[in-house]
Structure formats: structure tokens, C-alpha cells
């Protein structure tokens, strides 16, 4: 099992959710986060005052998937989240030791 953690642009959340749904992935955790990588912050002048936006709003999508489906899901996700510009975000993949469904104690991939 692998855990996918994707930091994406907020306006790409809907396309990503739709794309994952279309290949049968419904379950995920969404968090509103802030951050920046190479995109850095952003500067705006509003009425003569500078507004610095150091940390940009992003969305973190987390999901745990079976090893067999990992590549398919990663390519669906990155395709849906891509604009081709700086700021599109990043995806991290981790190994997962165990998964337990709290309701009935299902273990491993059965719990996904």
C-alpha cells in the first residue's frame, strides 16, 4: 500500500476529484494548506500599499492506494492537476505499513 500526498492548486481540486472518481477512487482527505515552493510569494499593490502574500493557498490531497493501482492513479492525478506553470504543486508517495478500518477491524488492502 502507498500513501499519496499531493499539494495542488485550489482551483484544480474539482478536476482532480472528478478525474479520480472516473477511475473509481472516491475516498480521500482534503486539507486547506498554505505554502510556497519555487513559485515564492506574490506581491500586489492595493491603494498605494504593498500586500505581500508569502504563503499561497494550496490544497493537500491525501489518499492511500494499493500498490497495483499506484501508477495509474498518479498519472491521473498529475494530469488533472497540471497547468504547466510554476505553482502547480508536488506529489509525494510513501510506503504504508498497515491500514485498519475502525468500524470492523478490516486490515490491509481490505481496509482501503
Amino acid at each position: 500500500m502507498k500513501k499519496i500526498e499531493a499539494i495542488i492548486q485550489p482551483f484544480k481540486l474539482e478536476p482532480v476529484k472528478e478525474a479520480l472518481k472516473s477511475i473509481g477512487i472516491d475516498g480521500m482527505t482534503i486539507t486547506e494548506v498554505r505554502g510556497h515552493g519555487r513559485q515564492k510569494g506574490h506581491k500586489e499593490v492595493y491603494r498605494g500599499q504593498e500586500y505581500n502574500v508569502d504563503l499561497l493557498p494550496k490544497v493537500k490531497v491525501e489518499l492511500v492506494v494499493t500498490d497495483a493501482r499506484l501508477n495509474e492513479i498518479l498519472s491521473t492525478l498529475t494530469t488533472a492537476a497540471r497547468t504547466g506553470k510554476i505553482g502547480d504543486g508536488k506529489v509525494f508517495v510513501y510506503d504504508v505499513a498497515e491500514a485498519i478500518r475502525i468500524r470492523n477491524d478490516d486490515r490491509g488492502e481490505a481496509a482501503l
Binding site: F11, E32, E44, Y46, R47, G48, Y51
Partner: protein
């Protein structure tokens, strides 16, 4: 027949039946474990819901073991344990306490709950003498502690209501704890018992059969919920709503409307009972003093923070009193007294009838909706039926449930919460909310915004028509009736039509793609529209549920506002009108920024062209009109140096406070300037002839026949600001914003003649003012000038020189 089936027909009978069965089991356990070992000095009592014979399938069984002394209780610990164990083994969830008669009749903070639970006590078994001892003391104790008990119940109730945002309009309501739930029903009965009277005497504005009906509905629903969940569950979830609807053979909406109707009845009854008791607790003197409260007027009196009608039948005789009521609550922030509510109710039909005819009430309504307590005024008017008598369109969203994962409230409650969110912005000091608070303080007509929110979702729940289309259609009907002027009507329609666009852009477009701000700027057209739509969006999202407007989301919204604002104010120079519909129009419009067309209606354009025609013979043409509390001066003439400074100086010399100004120039050198200003000294209002004198003076000044400096010497002086409110002047030059001009942003403390000083300083340094945007935010003036020198951007040297000169003028 199952319990659920029984509950469908006779909830109260089913509960009593279960109570009887439990009574038998408790008595049996008492006989087995305690009757023989403690023949005297101990008794068992039912308290709480069990005491009231209202035992739901999975309710706790509340018991009170009454012992003559603590020592006796301690001596029979084992028997008590056996007694309780038998009940637990029989599958009952028992919650018990052991007390002496003396303990039952004393009051301290720690055991006030016990005192309340004793109000529902019922003898089950054991020594009747020890029970008699307690019973003899109880009424005197309750009577003696009446005020303390009422205070406690009042505090508990208000805290409980606050946990649910004070409303029963939840999509998945907790039918026990939420306002209008079973706890409120108990409250009415407790308060009645404490006062030594019947609940009927306490039902406030609610009639007894209504309350009985509400009780039956809530009982039935709770019975169903227990039955379905097989535990003490009190939340009417979407699943439960479906299940119950199926069981009853009705639509889910029917179940929910039934619930909301009952909850409303119970809620009003509970508030009424509380109010009656709280009023009694205050002294007669306080009431006398309040009666003469100084906010009372010819229509309303105020006592104990509640509003009374002076003449009982006045509303039917004079339905426009309804508007004055909105205004009164909006200004003073007080609710109606129960007496007033009762009096209003039978007169609503007459009010409704009156307002089916077209009535020009918009000015009064706009005024009322702009007041600080307008959200309360609308809520009170809605709850008492006054608002739907004025606008029957709102009945369509009454308790309307639209299922949505994120939404917490019914559509009507969502609407009222959105309006409240908007008003609460006034007090926001911490970012990001404070940014929106700043926007709200700049809005010219907050009343229009509130009215747009009132109607934004009114078309929801209409299966034949898209929600926004239906909202617009219903709003149109109402706007026609109140005879709202065309310009405001267009703004209202714009806000309703586009109220979801900003969220959609936020969630669906890349904010840093330049086309996002450009497209959105085109869609909103003007800064004023952008500000209004931003605020509507903020309020609308915040009212979905109390946690949805995170600072993360607010920042996203603010960012879109910011990018669009900058887009709208920066593109002034780049896009020019090249061609218009007719040759005459082209002659006038060519060279104006495209924004001119977006910010002016066809009627405006026609009027401006007429002015231009007049100006050809006389050299200048001036138009002055009043809109609400704001005056607007429009002027067309041939461009000349110091023009902008001259007009702003003349207006200042009349004591006018310039709020906004814009200047447009066409290819042929004609200039169109508009100035919006307030008249703080009410000169124009009190002296109608001054309107003409002002126009004539502006004309003379423009044509060089009057000296502005001279005029300004005789201008009315206003009081200087306190030192605390002082704002340091800031000047910012920007060469990037426009292709052909340098942008100068001046932020300074507003004062009479400020605009004249800035504009004449710029003109005196040989620079010409191409476009001006003026904004005033409380005492802060934020002026943006697009300036050129010899047709080009200002050189760095020129900028430095202007900076020095402007700072010198601003620092005085």
C-alpha cells in the same frame, strides 16, 4: 404493533405505557432488595423524563433514592447495589442519586440540577412517611428559591440556544437540545411549576392546542429516532428523515416542515415563558423607568428592552407602520414584546393586502436596511410574519431544506445569517475579516446589499426553474411593487444574477493567470460592483455553516478581489473606445476609456451627449442631481489646465465633501467630469436655491470668471480631527500600471479642499491630469491620479519634484 407504529398514532400514550412497564420493574426490584431490609425511612422516586411519564424507548431511567439520613443510606449500600444491578440486568440504563429530604430542599450551586429534577418527581415505592417529609417541604422551598431557579434555568437555556446559533433552522436538527426542542418544552413546564401555575399560563404568544400539537410531533419524532438508532439518538439526520418519511408515507419535506413548525411554536413559547418570568423578577420601579425610555416615539414605546405598539390596531389602519417598525428595531436593536407580537399577528392580513399594490417604499426600506441592527429587524419581522406580509415571495424559502453536505441551515435561516454576517463585519478588527470590513465601510448603499441578500436564494427549491433565474423573477416582482428606481434595480439584479460567480472563479480559475482577473473585471464592470459582489460572496459563503469561512478561504476571496480591483483601475489607459453605434455617438465617445460604457447606462450617455451639445455654445454645461443622500455633479467642457482643481475647489468652497470623482477626455478635447459629494451641513437641502447658485458658480469658475482661491477663503470650516485619528500622508508613484501615464496614489487625511490642493499642485507643476479616481474611507482619502507631462509619463526628476510639492501641501 411496534412502538414506532404506536408512536405514529399516540406518542403520549406509548410513552405512558412504557413508563408503566418500567414502574413495575422498579417496584419489583425494590421489593426484592430493599423493602424488607429497610421497611421504614427509605423510598424510591422517579425524576426527570421518567418522573414526567415521558420515557422514550432508549431514555435513561432517572431514579432518586430517598433516605431519612445519610447514615441509613450508608448502612444499606449492598442492598442498593443489588437493586440497581437487577435493573441494569433487565437492560435499563439507570442513572441514580441518593439523597435525604433535607438535601432535597436546600439550594447551592452544585445541586441546582437536583432541585430542577425534583420538579418532576413521582413516588414509586417504599416508605411513604419519608416521602411525605420531603413533599411537605418541597413547595415552600421552590417558592422561596423561585428567583434563583429561574436565573439558573434562564442561563442554562440561553447557553444551550447559543450552542446552536440561536436557531432551530438546522438541516439535521437535534430535536432535544436545539432551540424549540424537547428541552424547551420542559422549560415551559418547569417555569410554570416554579411559578405555581399551569404551562398554559406561560405559553406566551402561542395557543395551547398549537403547543400540544407541537409536543405530539416532537415526541413522535424522538420515538422514531430511538427506534431507528436503537439508542438515545436525538439528531434528525438526513437518513432518519428519509426513514421516517417512508414510515409515515409522506415526503421528507413534509416531515421537516412539520418539525420546523413545531420547533417554532415551542421556541416562541419557551422564550415567552422566560421573558414573563424574567420580567417578574425585575422591580416595578425598573419597569416604570423603562416605560419612559427616551427612545420611545409616537409609534412605539420601550420597556425593559422590549418594543410595544402605542395604538393596538394601528398596523391594520396604517400598514406603513411596518416599515417604521423595521426602522425602529434597526436603529435601537431591540426585539418586540410578546404583547406587541400578539397584537401584530391578527393585523398581518391587512398589511399584506395593502402591500399587494405598488407602493414607493424603497427609500424608507433602504434607510432601514442600512441601519446597524437591520439583521435583527429583518429576523424579528420574519419571525412575526411582518416580512412575508411585505414580501410574500419569501414564503417560498420558509423552512426550506435543500440537502447539501456543507449547508447547515434551511434556506431562510441561511439568508438571515448571511445578512447578519455582513452587518457583523462592522466590528471586525483582525485580518482577513478586517479587509472585508474596510470594503463594507466604503459601500455607498449597504441597504441595497442587504436587500439583494434577502432575495439572492429566494428561487431555491423550484424544480422547474434554475435557482438564479427563479430568484431574479421573484425579485423583479418585488422590485416592481416597491417601485425601485431603474439604476438600483439594475444593481440588485446584477448582484443576484452573479452571486455565485466569484466562488466559481475562486474555485475554478488560476488566480495568477492574467486572463482570470481580466475576465472577471469585464464581468463586474465597475469597482463598486466588484466591492458589492465581494461582500455578497463573503456573506453567502460564511452563512453556509459556521466553520466554512476559514482564513484560508477568506484570503483566496480577498486575492481575487485585489487582482480584479487592480485590473479595473489599471486598464483605464489601455482600452479606448474606437467606434460607437452612431456617428454622433462616435464623435462624443471616441477616446473615452472603455470603462466609461460599462459604468454608464444608455440614459447616462444620452444625457452626457446633450450636455456636450449645450457646452458648445456656452463653453461649459453642468448638471446637478440628488440620489439618496449623495449629490452628483456632471460637467462637460473643453479640456484646460487646472480644470479638475477648479471644480473640486468650488465644491469645497460650498462646504461639500467630495466622495468620488472621475474625469474622462475624448479625442476632440472634450472633458467629462463627474463628482459625487455629500452635503454635511445640509446647505443644499435647506436652501433649494443654492443648487442653482452652485451650478452657476462652477460654470463661472470653469470659464475663469470666478477665482477659486477667493471662493475658498470664505468656505465653511469643519472641526479638526482628534489627534488620534491623524493619518500620515503617503504618496506612491507607479510607472508600470499604465502604458501612457504615471499613476500617483495619494493616501491622506481627508479635509475640505484636499482634492483642490492636490489637483492644483499637480497642475501647477505643468502636469496634466488624465484620469482621477477618488475614494474616501472614513477620514482617509485615497486618490488615484493618472498624470502625464507633455503627453508622456513623468520623468523621475518630475516625480521627485511632485512628491516634494505634494508632501509639503499635505503636511500643511
Amino acid at each position: 404493533m411496534t412502538t414506532a407504529e404506536k408512536l405514529r398514532f399516540d406518542p403520549i400514550g406509548a410513552l405512558a405505557e412504557r413508563t408503566l412497564a418500567v414502574d413495575a420493574q422498579v417496584s419489583n426490584a425494590w421489593q426484592r432488595h430493599l423493602a424488607l431490609s429497610v421497611p421504614a425511612g427509605a423510598a424510591i422516586l422517579a425524576v426527570g423524563g421518567y418522573g414526567r411519564r415521558q420515557l422514550f424507548p432508549y431514555s435513561d431511567i432517572d431514579l432518586l433514592l430517598l433516605f431519612a439520613s445519610e447514615k441509613a443510606a450508608a448502612a444499606h449500600k449492598e442492598e442498593i447495589a443489588g437493586f440497581l444491578q437487577q435493573l441494569w440486568d433487565a437492560g435499563m440504563r439507570v442513572s441514580q442519586s441518593v439523597r435525604t429530604p433535607a438535601e432535597c430542599c436546600e439550594l447551592h450551586e452544585g445541586n441546582i440540577e437536583l432541585s430542577v429534577s425534583l420538579l418532576d418527581q413521582r413516588y414509586l415505592a417504599g416508605d411513604a412517611t419519608v416521602y411525605g417529609t420531603m413533599l411537605a417541604k418541597l413547595p415552600r422551598f421552590v417558592h422561596g428559591q423561585r428567583d434563583a431557579l429561574v436565573r439558573h434555568l434562564s442561563r442554562m437555556t440561553r447557553e444551550r440556544h447559543a450552542r446552536f446559533n440561536g436557531t432551530f433552522h438546522h438541516l439535521e436538527p437535534n430535536i432535544k437540545e436545539a432551540p424549540g426542542g424537547l428541552r424547551d418544552l420542559q422549560l415551559v413546564s418547569w417555569l410554570a411549576q416554579i411559578a405555581g401555575t399551569t404551562p398554559q399560563a406561560f405559553s406566551g404568544p402561542v395557543r395551547v392546542p398549537e403547543l400540544d400539537d407541537a409536543r405530539r410531533t416532537l415526541f413522535a419524532l424522538r420515538g422514531y429516532l430511538h427506534q431507528q438508532a436503537k439508542r438515545d439518538s436525538n439528531i434528525l439526520t438526513f437518513d432518519a428523515q428519509e426513514w421516517i418519511a417512508e414510515l409515515m408515507g409522506v415526503e421528507e419535506t413534509a416531515v421537516m416542515r412539520g418539525y420546523f413548525r413545531s420547533a417554532r411554536t415551542v421556541h416562541r413559547s419557551a422564550l415567552g415563558a422566560l421573558e414573563t418570568e424574567e420580567a417578574r423578577a425585575s422591580s416595578l420601579f425598573a419597569q416604570f423607568r423603562d416605560r419612559r425610555s427616551r427612545v420611545s416615539n409616537a409609534d412605539f414605546t420601550v420597556a425593559r428592552e422590549r418594543i410595544y405598539l402605542r395604538a393596538p390596531q394601528q398596523l391594520a389602519a396604517e400598514p406603513e407602520l411596518a416599515l417604521r417598525l423595521l426602522e425602529f428595531i434597526g436603529r435601537h436593536g431591540m426585539r418586540l414584546s410578546l404583547e406587541a407580537e400578539q397584537r401584530i399577528s391578527p393585523q398581518l392580513a391587512a398589511v399584506r393586502q395593502y402591500f399587494t399594490q405598488p407602493r414607493p417604499i424603497w427609500p424608507a426600506l433602504r434607510e432601514a436596511l442600512s441601519l446597524p441592527h437591520a439583521p435583527l429587524a429583518l429576523r424579528v419581522a420574519y419571525e412575526t410574519g411582518v416580512l412575508t406580509a411585505l414580501f410574500p415571495e419569501l414564503e417560498r424559502i420558509d423552512s426550506l431544506v435543500i440537502r447539501d453536505f456543507f449547508h447547515r441551515y434551511t434556506v431562510d435561516e441561511h439568508t438571515l445569517v448571511a445578512i447578519q454576517t455582513l452587518a457583523e463585519l462592522r466590528g471586525e478588527k483582525v485580518p482577513p475579516a478586517s479587509s472585508f470590513a474596510g470594503l463594507f465601510s466604503e459601500i455607498e448603499q449597504p441597504g441595497l446589499l442587504v436587500f439583494a441578500l434577502l432575495f439572492h436564494d429566494v428561487g431555491k427549491g423550484n424544480r422547474q426553474e434554475a435557482h438564479i433565474d427563479a430568484s431574479l423573477r421573484l425579485a423583479d416582482r418585488a422590485l416592481e411593487r416597491i417601485q425601485m428606481p431603474a439604476a438600483e434595480r439594475a444593481s440588485m439584479r446584477f448582484l443576484i444574477r452573479h452571486h455565485l460567480d466569484m466562488s466559481a472563479t475562486m474555485n475554478g480559475r488560476d488566480p495568477f493567470d492574467p486572463s482570470t482577473a481580466r475576465d472577471f473585471a469585464h464581468a463586474v464592470g465597475t469597482v463598486e460592483n466588484l466591492k458589492r459582489l465581494t461582500l455578497i460572496t463573503y456573506a453567502d459563503i460564511s452563512a453556509v455553516n459556521p466553520t466554512v469561512m476559514t482564513s484560508w478561504r477568506a484570503e483566496q476571496l480577498w486575492q481575487l478581489y485585489l487582482l480584479t480591483y487592480n485590473e479595473l483601475t489599471r486598464e483605464l489607459e489601455t482600452e479606448r473606445i474606437e467606434e460607437a453605434d452612431s456617428p454622433e455617438q462616435s464623435a462624443f465617445l471616441e477616446g473615452f476609456p472603455k470603462r466609461y460604457l460599462r459604468t454608464h447606462s444608455e440614459a447616462d450617455v444620452a444625457r452626457h451627449m446633450q450636455l456636450e451639445l449645450e457646452s458648445r455654445t456656452r463653453g461649459v454645461a453642468v448638471d446637478l442631481e440628488k440620489s439618496g443622500s449623495i449629490y452628483r455633479l456632471t460637467l462637460v467642457t473643453v479640456d484646460r489646465p487646472f480644470l479638475f482643481a477648479t471644480v473640486s475647489g468650488t465644491l469645497s468652497s460650498f462646504g461639500m465633501n467630495i466622495l468620488k470623482a472621475e474625469a474622462f477626455a475624448n479625442r476632440r478635447g472634450a472633458v467629462l467630469d463627474t463628482f459625487s459629494f455629500a452635503d454635511p451641513l445640509r446647505t443644499l437641502e435647506l436652501n433649494p436655491t443654492e443648487m442653482d447658485r452652485l451650478k452657476a458658480t462652477v460654470e463661472r469658475a470653469v470659464l475663469g470668471r470666478a477665482d477659486v482661491k477667493q471662493l475658498l477663503r470664505s468656505r465653511p470650516r469643519s472641526a479638526p480631527l482628534s489627534r488620534k485619528a491623524r493619518i500620515d500622508p503617503a504618496i506612491h508613484f507607479d510607472d508600470q500600471a499604465s502604458q501612457s501615464a504615471t499613476l500617483i496614489q495619494v493616501v491622506a487625511e481627508d479635509r475640505p479642499g484636499l482634492l483642490y490642493d492636490i489637483a492644483s499642485t499637480i497642475s501647477s507643476r505643468g502636469a496634466s491630469i488624465e484620469v482621477v479616481l477618488i475614494d474616501t474611507e472614513a477620514h482617509k482619502a485615497i486618490d488615484v491620479f493618472y498624470v502625464t507631462a507633455a503627453g508622456r509619463k513623468l520623468t523621475p526628476e518630475k516625480q521627485a519634484e511632485l512628491q516634494q510639492a505634494l508632501l509639503a501641501v499635505l503636511r500643511g
